[in-house]
């Protein structure tokens, strides 16, 4: 039982680091390894790990919006049934004009994942075929899973508040009005919202 040693995982990471330029990797824990690559290497790395390292099962693909840093992080999650190891391949894509090459010729189901990411984040997958609409219908606003899409503003524009709850009070305000306490500017940002 290789419960305590992470040799298998480390071997794979070392192998990948040696095979590809500009690839960094690490062992996260037992059965989890991750590598970070550049976006132009995505198809070549995915093909390589599928054909040569046994990562034949595609588990999941995700996208994380790092708005403050200006990029999307695409994460491809693969599984090797023989070695029982999960590999996370991460690549950064610029938020402005985000575009990446299509990878659904490697695994067919990537088409579904890519369609969703295109719809929800606005990442263009060059050469991909598939309906523009996947989950949303007649959506003409910005891709909604982006962090700069503010749901509160959206609902206040589109919907109206159902009446009946206007008499809601704020506990802090009620008490400070009763005692005559004046809360200074430096403190209000620490009050409970």
């Amino acid at each position: 039982m290789t419960e305590n040693s992470l040799d298998k995982e480390q071997q794979i990471v070392n192998h990948l680091v040696g095979t590809f330029q500009n690839l960094t990797g690490k062992v996260k824990r037992n059965r989890r390894i991750e590598v970070s690559i550049e976006k132009k290497q995505i198809t070549s790395v995915l093909n390589y790990v599928k054909d040569h390292l046994g990562f034949i099962h595609f588990s999941h693909m995700s996208c994380v919006d790092w708005l403050e840093d200006g990029y999307f992080e695409l994460v491809y999650i693969l599984w090797s049934p023989e070695q029982k190891i999960q590999l996370l391949v991460k690549a950064l894509v610029d938020r402005e004009n985000a575009s990446v090459e299509n990878a659904d010729m490697i695994w067919r189901q990537l088409n579904t994942y890519q369609r969703e990411i295109r719809e929800m984040f606005g990442v263009n997958f060059i050469g991909m075929k598939g309906d523009k609409e996947f989950i949303l219908e007649d959506w003409d606003n910005m891709p909604p899973m982006r962090r700069d899409f503010n749901t509160v503003d959206y609902i206040q524009e589109v919907y109206f508040e159902r009446p009946g709850r206007e008499d809601a009070q704020n506990v802090r305000e009620t008490i400070s009005k009763r005692t005559g306490e004046e809360i200074p500017e430096v403190a209000t940002k620490y009050s409970r919202d």
């Binding site: 009946g164 009070q169 009620t174 306490e181 430096v186």
Partner: protein, 595 residues
């Protein structure tokens, strides 16, 4: 396919196996299945136990709970007066509100049926909409699984037996990690701000500490309290008595967190740099302050920030009043207090030490030289115990002892000291005497739980070996030929219930006289103000009622140019009330002089 089908002939007989089997019965009348003991149904709130802290409203992830005013509920200290109302159109019955309720008043019931033709009646006030719900409570909170943090982070302190050997500070106070952990317990309900006499912005600075913004915490404290570290060490902390968490657990350590925050700035220069106050241009008005106690210092600090020319006249060598001379050094070290006072001096507050009004300078001079006067003289004169032998050598008031010790002297107490009284001054006198090497006994006429002293102080005294004798009334001090204290005679008392429903009274037990040999007797049964500095004409222009100066809402006496605050004015007689008085007086003085 044969005409004669064996299988078709035999198979129907298999139906015989049903013969003799018990039928599946459905009972009639229909027995309704009982709802589970933990069912999450409609809410019920115990309106009496609820304190209106609003924590349920904050945690609700659907924003379904509003805090609203109800007709039958009035806000008061420890209760905001608001009660939760649930929007049943949004509630998902996750019961997180039940898990975070600090008092355990909000629960879920077994009722889940709510039928009405009115589409807008989805707002549900638990407790009001279903008063019978209290018999049906199913999902309730209990202390073990509650999401509120009920246990306080413990505070390290010096060992009782060790610490009597010196005047080193007994409390070791919070480290940064412990402070952040303690600060994160706070639920920001702000019930504490109501009972703080100064209305300090407590949830705000606690949240600043929890976030790691200690500098902001200092600035928030200094908004209305220039002696934050002192309060952090010795305040009576009425805030903690109404903290939402103390209903079922330990209150947030508001006082010690204040000490942690201001203690981060180790010198007066650092304080000035962090607080960085906005000092306004001098406006040409002068204000004179009698007494550099907490009320005088607070008034001086905020007036100086507003551009007034402030001078404090202090009779003693150091500033601080009772805080400096009445509180022993093991509770409030001198450097700590001086640091805070030095910072005030650095922004322009002028203090004239060793200047007793009435002796070194007359009140008349001060009155004529300044545009307004603030009197913060405090209660410096102790009451006499009223028993024979009080004038003997070795029998003296506790405030004198504390004054001497804090001024640097080490009086000889002998080997056995008896302290008469049960307040903080008595305990201070007792613990100081322990440190001077004596065996100490405290005599108090009522029971221990009636003692007005802080429970922490009583516990601290007991750990240091002080013996407390409750229900003990001294009757005579016995002296030797040189009029030095030799022994004390006392009676035991029994508590008799008061017919009018007040506190039980101590009634001396006939024939229970006992004599105990002692070397010193310290009296600590209260103090009064010393108005001898005030000339006759001024004393007539202000009103003095039962030893206290009478002021209006704006801390102004009957003489509009004289303002007053502190122990000599308010009934609560603690440092924070004095600071609050000073803060209120500042606004009033500004209005009086600048309009």
């Amino acid at each position: 396919m044969a005409f004669f089908d064996i299988k078709g002939l035999v198979t129907p007989f298999t139906a015989l196996k049903q013969f003799g089997k018990a039928p599946h019965t459905v009972t009639f009348p229909y027995h309704k299945k009982e709802t589970a003991q933990r069912y999450r149904g409609l809410h019920f709130n115990d309106l009496e136990a609820c304190i209106g802290c609003g924590n349920c409203s904050t945690i609700c992830m659907n924003e379904a709970i509003d805090m609203v005013n109800l007709e039958q509920i009035e806000g008061k200290a420890g209760d905001s007066g608001l009660r939760p109302r649930v929007d049943n159109g949004r509630c998902c019955w996750c019961a997180l509100c039940v898990e975070v309720c600090p008092t355990g008043s909000l629960n879920l019931t077994k009722d889940y049926i709510y039928v009405t033709p009115d589409a807008d009646s989805f707002l549900w006030t638990p407790g009001v909409s279903n008063p019978e719900g209290k018999d049906n409570i199913s999902f309730h909170s209990d202390v073990d699984t509650s999401l509120s943090m009920f246990d306080r982070v413990p505070m390290p302190e010096l060992d009782g037996k060790e610490r009597v050997k010196s005047f080193a500070e007994t409390m070791l106070y919070y480290t940064e990690e412990a402070a952040r952990e303690e600060a994160s317990r706070c639920i920001s309900c702000s019930l504490c701000t109501e009972v703080c006499p100064d209305h300090m912005h407590i949830p705000e600075y606690i949240n600043a500490i929890a976030k790691g913004e200690d500098d902001d915490a200092i600035r928030i404290i200094y908004d209305n309290n220039p002696l934050g570290e002192m309060c952090g060490k010795v305040c009576t902390r009425r805030c903690e008595d109404v903290c939402a968490l103390q209903v079922r657990g330990d209150a947030v350590a508001i006082r010690w967190l204040k000490e942690y925050a201001v203690g981060r700035a180790e010198t007066a220069e650092m304080l000035k740099e962090i607080v960085n106050p906005d000092i306004q241009e001098p406006n040409g008005k002068k204000v004179g302050i009698v007494g550099a106690g907490p009320s005088g210092l607070t008034t001086a600090y905020y007036l100086a920030l507003k551009g007034f020319d402030v001078t404090i006249y202090e009779a003693n060598e150091y500033a601080g009043g009772m805080v400096m001379y009445g509180i022993p050094k093991y509770r409030l070290p001198m450097d700590s207090l001086n640091k805070q006072i030095d910072y005030m001096k650095s922004i322009g507050v002028k203090i004239k030490f060793n200047t007793k009004v009435g002796k070194d300078i007359t009140f008349d001079e001060i009155y004529k030289e300044h545009d307004a006067v603030f009197v913060g003289i405090g209660f410096q004169k102790p009451y006499s115990i009223g028993i024979k032998g009080e004038d003997a050598q070795g029998a003296f008031p506790a405030v004198n002892l504390l004054f001497d010790v804090n001024s640097g002297k080490t009086p000889d107490m002998g080997n056995k000291v008896v302290v008469i009284g049960g307040g903080n001054v008595a305990i201070d006198g007792a613990r100081v005497s322990r440190r001077l090497g004596a065996e100490v006994v405290i005599m108090y006429r009522r029971r221990v739980q009636d003692m007005p002293a802080d429970w922490e102080e009583i516990e601290g005294a007991e750990h240091e070996g002080v013996e407390i004798m409750p229900q003990t009334i001294p009757v005579e001090i016995i002296t030797d030929d040189n009029n030095k204290v030799k022994a004390i005679k006392y009676l035991k008392a029994e508590m008799v219930a008061d017919d009018k429903g007040g506190r039980p009274r101590p009634v001396p037990i006939e024939g229970s006289e006992t004599i105990m040999e002692v070397s010193s007797v310290i009296g600590a049964i209260g103090q009064e103000a010393d108005y001898s500095f005030l000339p006759e004409e001024y004393r007539n222009s202000i009103e003095i009622n039962r030893g206290r100066m009478v002021v209006n809402e704006q801390m102004q006496t009957a003489n509009p140019k004289i303002f007053a605050g502190g122990d000599a004015v308010n009934r609560t007689a603690d440092a924070i009330s004095a600071i609050a008085d000073g803060y209120r007086a500042v606004k009033a003085i500004e209005k009086f002089l600048m309009n």
